[in-house]
Structure formats: structure tokens, C-alpha cells
């Protein structure tokens, strides 16, 4: 099974194809040395694809194009449990399984110009002019090493023939150039024919790459990748407030949020690796609405004192200024040098630092909290008499 959700109707809908490849049956066996030396098995991509599918199934809300279908392929073979539903076995992401799943997805996407098509891929990628996404059975023949790959560049070009005006591609894969593998680049094919010149040039078709050209993308062992977590955070914090008081994620706003959040990792999460930086490719004619929240999103706020050294000794508080009496507080934490991270709704807040055990003066300011993230710094007016051994750590 690859179709895990099918709510197809003849009206604008969102149709999703998600692929996560980790097992790579021919890579680790050593039967194809040219590949085995370069690429190994991965544990993160299927987790990433599942995380993306979970979010799509449980959270995606687009009144203009509600979820119509979800095709999911995972390697190694495993069961997928829909949020709140039963577990179903899903097909492995081999070339044989991906092609019919892609065809079904394309048929649905092609049904209405108002459709939103989403293609998510997580796994190995190699870029040399074209970007090749490696499927589970890549390297089945040592004479056609890139036979079971998706030539994303050609596939993207081919989707000009798709009527869906919004087409989003999420590519969570390395884009390194492989000197060894370019010799076989002719074997990689797109998933559909490329219309020569004619086609849907007006489509809003961004490609959200996890990293820039010729660079690597990273994933932690047995958990979704850095990029997938970043992408889902960006989806969860819409940045566009619309006239009807709803909040929207748009095709262009999504990349702005990704760029902003990339510089602010989630509290406790590792810093983004050197050499990885999300990039936008493709043709973007939008902005097209992808996801809508009918309530204010939670914003990741970081509060710190200046100088940073006094932050652990401060009692920090945020109080909403809208009369709701909402407030958040952190007691002094001498062993925690990091800023205070808290998630609060959009709005205006009084932010305050008090030093109950020290002779330091309090500090306060008013701050507007706006998605996707906000850093707030409270300048503490340190005078000479404050600089005693007990006052500073």
C-alpha cells in the first residue's frame, strides 16, 4: 500500500507524495564498490518522511485546498500508523513502487488547477548539473548505477505539464557532486516526460532544498533530519496575518520563515551543522496559501539579559499587555547559562528581569512578539558598585 489517505474529490485539494529512503539494499552489501564507498544506509530519512506525513495527516489545514490524498513510501519496509488511526504496511521506496505512486499522485494533481501538489523526498542525493534522488534499489546493476534514481531536475521540468498551479517540492537530501558517479549520470531519468517548451510556466513551484548546491544535508541517528524539523517548525508558525484574522503559511513566506528559524535552533537541539543552509529553487509565482491557522500561532521567544552573564541570576517574566493576564515566569537558574526559551502567543508583552538575591537593578521593556521567532534582550544597568564578587558569577 502506498495510498494511506484517499479523500479525492473533484475540487481543489492538496495531494502529497512523501518518500523516505534509508535502507538502500545494494549500498551496504559491498556488491557495488563504486556506490558502497560513497554512500551508506541511513536511519533518518524514513523518520523524516513519517514526521512529514504525520504533520500532513494531522495538522494540514488549507480551506482553499484541503487534503485530498497522501502517498507514502518508506524504506526499510515498515508499517505506518495514521495519527489516531490503524497501522498499515507501506511499500518500500523502490523504483517499481515509486513510479505508480507518482502516476496516481500526478493524476490527482492534474485534476484541477486549484490543486496544491506536494512532493517530499528524504534520502541520498547527488547533484551534477541535474539533481538525482536515490531510491532504495539504486545500484541494482553495476552497469546502470543510477538506474533507480529520480532525476529531480527532469521531473520538475516535466511537471510543467501538470495543471496544478501550486507545486511544492521538499528535498531533504545531499546535493554533493560525486566525481565517481558522474560517469554514469546518463542513466538517471525523470518520473515523467518533459514537455519541450510548452507548459504551465505560470505555476507557483518552489523547491525547498535542505541545503545549497554541492553541499551536504544532515540527519541525526533514528530521528527526523535537521531540515525536516525546521520545515515543520516553519509550517507550524505562519507569518502572514490575513484580513480575516487567520494566519497563513504561503509559498514565499515559508522560505522566509525557514531562513529565520535556521539561525535559531530549537532549545536543546544541536546547532545546524556547518555547511548546510536551506535554499529555495525553482520558479515561484505565488504567494500561494499552503496552510492556515485560525488561531494565533505560538512563537518561540528567547529572553536574555545584557550582559549575558547575569541571565542565570535573574527571575524572568513575560506578561501579556492585552488584559488577558497571561504570564510566564522563570526562576533564577544559576546552572543554566542559556537564555530563557518560552513559547507564547503573538502579541505585546512586558518583559522583566528581577535579581532577588543580588543588588542588581531590575530591567524591563515592552516587546512585540511576532512569528516565527523573537529574541528579546534586557539591558541591565550595571554600575560599578554592582560589580562585587557576589554579584556576578
Amino acid at each position: 500500500v502506498t495510498t494511506v489517505i484517499d479523500r479525492f474529490e473533484r475540487r481543489p485539494q492538496t495531494h502529497v507524495l512523501a518518500i523516505g529512503v534509508g535502507s538502500y539494499r545494494h549500498l551496504s552489501s559491498g556488491e557495488i564498490p563504486e556506490l558502497a564507498n560513497l554512500l551508506g544506509r541511513l536511519t533518518s530519512p524514513p523518520r523524516s518522511a513519517v514526521a512529514f506525513a504525520d504533520w500532513i495527516a494531522a495538522e494540514l489545514n488549507n480551506p482553499h485546498a484541503p487534503l485530498g490524498s497522501l502517498e507514502l513510501l518508506l524504506s526499510p519496509k515498515q508499517q505506518y500508523r495514521l495519527p489516531g488511526g490503524d497501522a498499515v504496511p507501506v511499500d518500500e521506496a523502490t523504483s517499481e513502487a515509486v513510479k505508480p505512486a507518482f502516476d496516481r499522485w500526478l493524476e490527482r494533481c492534474n485534476g484541477d488547477p486549484g490543486n496544491v501538489a506536494m512532493l517530499f523526498f528524504s534520502g541520498h542525493g547527488i547533484e551534477y548539473g541535474d539533481l538525482h534522488l536515490l531510491l532504495d534499489d539504486v545500484g541494482a546493476s553495476r552497469f546502470r548505477l543510477l538506474e533507480n534514481t529520480i532525476n529531480l531536475t527532469q521531473t520538475y521540468g516535466g511537471l510543467k505539464q501538470c495543471q496544478a498551479m501550486a507545486q511544492c517540492f521538499f528535498v531533504d537530501a545531499c546535493r554533493e557532486i560525486s566525481a565517481e558517479l558522474i560517469e554514469w549520470r546518463g542513466a538517471s531519468q525523470g518520473l515523467l516526460d518533459v514537455p519541450l517548451v510548452y507548459g504551465n510556466f505560470a505555476r507557483d513551484a518552489p523547491i525547498y532544498f535542505s541545503t545549497f548546491e554541492s553541499a551536504q544535508a544532515f540527519g541525526d541517528h533514528e530521528r527526523p533530519s535537521v531540515y525536516t524539523e525546521l520545515l515543520l517548525r516553519a509550517f507550524a508558525t505562519p507569518t502572514t496575518l490575513r484580513g480575516d484574522e487567520t494566519w497563513a503559511v504561503t509559498t514565499s513566506g515559508l522560505q522566509e520563515a525557514i531562513v529565520q528559524l535556521f539561525h535559531r535552533p530549537r532549545p536543546g537541539a544541536p546547532l545546524p551543522p556547518d555547511g548546510q543552509q536551506p535554499r529555495l529553487g525553482g520558479h515561484t509565482a505565488g504567494p500561494t496559501v499552503l496552510h492556515v491557522l485560525d488561531h494565533s500561532p505560538s512563537v518561540q521567544v528567547s529572553v536574555a539579559c545584557r550582559p549575558q552573564a547575569v541571565t542565570p541570576r535573574a527571575r524572568l517574566a513575560l506578561t501579556a499587555c492585552d488584559g488577558t493576564d497571561l504570564s510566564w515566569q522563570r526562576q533564577p537558574q544559576p546552572d543554566t547559562p542559556e537564555p530563557w526559551h518560552v513559547e507564547v502567543p503573538v502579541g505585546s508583552y512586558d518583559v522583566r528581569a528581577d535579581f532577588l538575591l543580588d543588588r542588581l537593578p531590575s530591567a524591563e521593556k515592552r516587546a512585540i512578539v511576532w512569528p516565527p521567532a523573537r529574541d528579546i534582550e534586557l539591558p541591565v544597568d550595571l554600575q560599578l558598585e554592582h560589580l562585587t564578587p557576589t554579584a556576578l558569577p
Partner: protein
């Protein structure tokens, strides 16, 4: 009163402009504006509290709170770029990457030629950091950077009378060898637009685009003032389809800036996208013309030319002009560094893109063996055809290896298609690493030969006089 707002810029960008959102807690984004860096700017805002969210291209966002106490008060802000701290941190970690770094300036005349650097390079802590170049319009220029640890690479330069080249560290060794090369014109709005397009921040790009478009419309002729805005807006519109072209100014751009391949590529791409009747014939002519002129300055141009020619070449039975143009563009597209907004690639020179990394310092001690007249080309499965008169072999001595380029031009298309070439060097086997031509095959030195092709090979060996003498004696084609 002027409020100074510190922001962090990813690179040292004098004269830059940044897109800024003015946000109110209850109303959301109430304005999107463009602010200069390093110069005071006056904002007129109603009474209230505001969040200024400043978005440098590709860099971290800077948030600043503002309070306007009286209605219609004007507020003067000064964005102060803090690039030094960032650079110093990286410089400390990777300063040694610049040991032995060098730059060369190239100009495209009838062919690419190295030209003297106008002006004196600026050094910081003994390291080359900045070049301010004054360049004549009407000719394409390229800058080349390399070093002992920095792979040689070439970046096209903006078509502007003044270009600022900045060399910084990237923070990691990686693909660039730790060195970043940025070249900017003095037009802050144009550079901001290109920077946002590079990082994919199209909402921010949409803040800048009207400013650049206005500058374009103000320019009466497509001279220095209008050329850059036209090229930047052209690529922006092709990326976003915010407005459907082609436009009159694209025609004028193509007519008046025939020396700049980007001009023809922008018009051609717009003609290809014209609905419902794309003008394939004219687009093809323009793309072929662009390829004959040279390499586009911007990476979007390189991508559009490659994409357009590939589509046109696969859509027609046999068109030598299109095939030839595609063959000329493809090696650059394959070698391109798509992270940059200027067309950039690893290469020996602007005419020689390479896939592999070349390290070292260019040497004038180049060994050339011209015209080995006794070479022969053997036709596959047929009798031998002596094409010796059309063959030339050039051997270039590099620091740690030797490059061979073999240019072959057959008497007829049929002969060229079936010819096979084997390079023999007295027992030494070179590695074929690159060639021009629409298809690629590697292996033991055998390959089909297109009509006109220059094959490049490399012998990875420590170069010494004995080896050169050995090659002079034994090098031949069979």
C-alpha cells in the same frame, strides 16, 4: 533624533539595502520598506509601538522596538552593519587558508585574456580582502581566485563601471577551500534584489523589486544607470512571473547591450514563456547569439540558457546551431557553483571550467608542444582516416600535474561521428576528466568524437623535466 540599529550582515556590504517589515501587535505587518545600511533614513509612522524586523539577504533577522509618541512623527534610523565581528571570528579560525591566495582579472575580447588589475588590492592582516575595480562597460569581465589551498574558481563580474570584490572566509574549508568571493556593483537596490533571489527570500525581494523597476523606468537609455536594473528585474520577473512579459525594455536591452549575453537570454526566456504562443524561433536565435557572445554574468542567466537550449535541442530533429550553443553552455552549467548569484565555476580560466579542484599558484613556466603533425585518428570499424592536419595537441605544465588538450576537427560530419581516439603516451595513461560536447563517456580513453571537440586529459604525476622529455618523445594519438 537618529536611532542607531545594529544589524548583522552576512558579508561586508557597503551601500547595501535591506528589506524591513514594520509590525504592530494588533495589525500585523503594516508596511514593508527598504532601508539603506550606513545612511540615515526617515520613517513616517503614526503614533504607537512598532517592531522593525530587518531581514538582511540570507542573514539573521534583527528585531528592534520603536515607539512613536506623537502622531505623524518622523523617525530617523541608521542601520549599522556589524560584519567585522563575524568576519573576525571566522578569520581567526581560517586565516591560514589565505596563505598563497591570488586573484586574476580577465576580459572577454575576441577571446578571454588576462588583464592587469586596475587599482591596488586592499590587504588586511596581510591577506587580500578587497578590490575596487573600475571597468569599462561594453565588455564582460571575470575575476579568478585561487591559492595553495583554495580551488581555482572564476566569477563573472557585474556589468557596472565600478565593481567591489570582497574576499572573506566561509567558516569551513569545504568546497571553497575556506574562501568566499563576492562581487558587487555600487547599486544597493540591485544587489539587494539579487541577494534576496539568491537566498530565496522572495517576499523580501518583492519589497526591493519596485524600487529597481522604478530606477529602470527613470533611465532614459539603457546605459550604466539602466543596464543593471534591467538585468536584475528581468531575472526577478522570470523567476516569479509577477508580471507577464516580454516588455519593451527587454527588447531595448537586447538591442543595446548585445555584448552582454544576459540581455539576449532574458528576452529569449520571456519569449519562451509567452502564452499562448511562445516565439520559439526568435528565442532560439537569441540563445544561440548569447552563447556565441560568451558566458552570462548571472547564474540565473546560465540556468535559463542551459534549460532553454536543452529544451529546444531536444525538440528539433537536427539543428547544428542549437546543438553547438548547447555544447558551448553545458560545460559551464555542469561546473557551475549555483550558490552564487553571479555565474561562477571552478576553472583554469573563464574559458576552461573544470569539475575537479585545481590548487596552487599559476606559473608562467608553461610547457607547450604545438602541432604534433604525425598524429592519426582511427575510425571505428573502418579504415584509417588521416586527419593529422586538423589535430593540435597542447600540453600545459601545471605544478603537480600535466594537462593535455586535443583539438580535433574532421573533414566531414560522418567521419567525426564514428572516429575514435586513443591517446598513447609511451605507457603512461592519462585520465580523461573533461571535454566539451553534448554527451559524455569516460573510461579507457575511447569515446565518440563530435564534429569539433576539445578533449582534456590529465596526467596526475609530479612534473619534472624528464617526464616532459618523455612525453615529447612519446605523445601521440592513434
Amino acid at each position: 533624533m537618529t536611532v542607531t540599529l545594529p544589524i548583522r550582515m552576512p558579508v561586508d556590504t557597503g551601500g547595501a539595502m535591506v528589506a524591513t517589515e514594520v509590525i504592530q501587535a494588533q495589525r500585523g505587518v503594516v508596511a514593508r520598506i527598504l532601508l539603506p545600511v550606513g545612511e540615515p533614513a526617515t520613517l513616517r509612522l503614526p503614533q504607537g509601538r512598532f517592531l522593525l524586523r530587518i531581514r538582511p539577504p540570507g542573514g539573521p533577522v534583527s528585531d528592534h522596538e520603536m515607539t512613536v509618541d506623537t502622531a505623524e512623527e518622523s523617525l530617523t534610523v541608521l542601520l549599522s552593519a556589524d560584519t567585522d565581528r563575524l568576519q573576525q571570528e571566522r578569520q581567526a579560525a581560517l586565516g591560514e587558508a589565505f596563505d598563497g591566495a591570488w586573484v586574476r582579472l580577465w576580459a572577454l575580447e575576441d577571446a578571454w585574456r588576462e588583464v592587469p588589475l586596475p587599482g591596488k588590492p586592499e590587504l588586511a592582516e596581510g591577506v587580500l580582502r578587497r578590490l575596487r575595480l573600475q571597468l569599462p562597460l561594453g565588455r564582460i569581465h571575470a575575476i579568478q581566485l585561487g591559492g595553495k589551498r583554495i580551488p581555482w574558481r572564476v566569477a563573472m563580474l557585474p556589468p557596472a563601471p565600478e565593481v567591489d570584490v570582497v574576499i572573506t572566509t566561509t567558516g569551513t574549508l569545504g568546497f571553497d577551500g575556506g574562501a568566499r568571493l563576492e562581487a558587487r556593483s555600487g547599486d544597493g537596490a540591485v544587489e539587494a534584489l539579487l541577494g534576496y533571489m539568491k537566498s530565496g527570500q522572495l517576499d523580501s525581494a518583492r519589497v526591493v523589486a519596485p524600487v529597481v523597476l522604478e530606477a529602470l523606468h527613470r533611465a532614459t537609455l539603457l546605459g550604466a544607470d539602466g543596464l543593471l536594473p534591467a538585468v536584475a528585474v528581468g531575472y526577478f520577473l522570470l523567476r516569479t512571473s509577477d508580471q507577464a512579459g516580454p516588455f519593451d525594455w527587454m527588447e531595448r536591452l537586447s538591442e543595446q547591450a548585445g555584448w552582454l549575453p544576459d540581455a539576449a537570454i532574458i528576452l529569449a526566456s520571456s519569449l519562451l514563456r509567452r502564452q499562448p504562443d511562445p516565439d520559439l524561433g526568435r528565442a532560439r536565435s537569441l540563445l544561440v547569439q548569447a552563447a556565441q557572445v560568451g558566458l552570462p554574468v548571472y547564474r540565473d542567466g546560465l540556468g535559463l540558457a542551459f534549460e532553454g537550449l536543452r529544451a529546444l535541442a531536444s525538440g528539433t530533429s537536427d539543428d547544428p546551431r542549437t546543438d553547438g550553443a548547447l555544447a558551448a553552455v553545458e560545460p559551464f552549467a555542469r561546473a557551475a557553483d549555483w550558490r552564487q548569484h553571479l555565474a561562477s565555476f571552478r576553472g583554469h580560466s573563464p574559458a576552461e571550467p573544470t569539475f575537479s579542484a585545481i590548487l596552487g599558484v599559476p606559473t608562467s613556466a608553461v610547457v607547450t608542444i604545438p602541432g604534433k603533425r604525425h598524429v592519426r585518428v582511427q575510425r571505428a570499424g573502418a579504415q584509417q582516416a588521416n586527419l593529422a592536419a586538423a589535430e593540435t595537441i597542447v600540453v600545459t605544465r601545471r605544478s603537480d600535474y600535466i594537462d593535455f588538450s586535443v583539438t580535433s576537427q574532421g573533414p566531414s560530419e560522418e567521419a567525426e561521428r564514428v572516429a575514435e581516439v586513443r591517446v598513447l603516451m609511451g605507457g603512461l595513461r592519462p585520465r580523461l576528466y573533461q571535454r566539451s560536447g553534448p554527451s559524455l563517456s569516460y573510461g579507457d580513453g575511447r569515446e565518440p568524437v563530435p564534429r569539433e571537440v576539445r578533449r582534456a586529459m590529465r596526467l596526475d604525476a609530479r612534473v619534472n623535466d624528464d617526464l616532459v622529455e618523455h612525453l615529447e618523445t612519446n605523445l601521440r594519438l592513434e
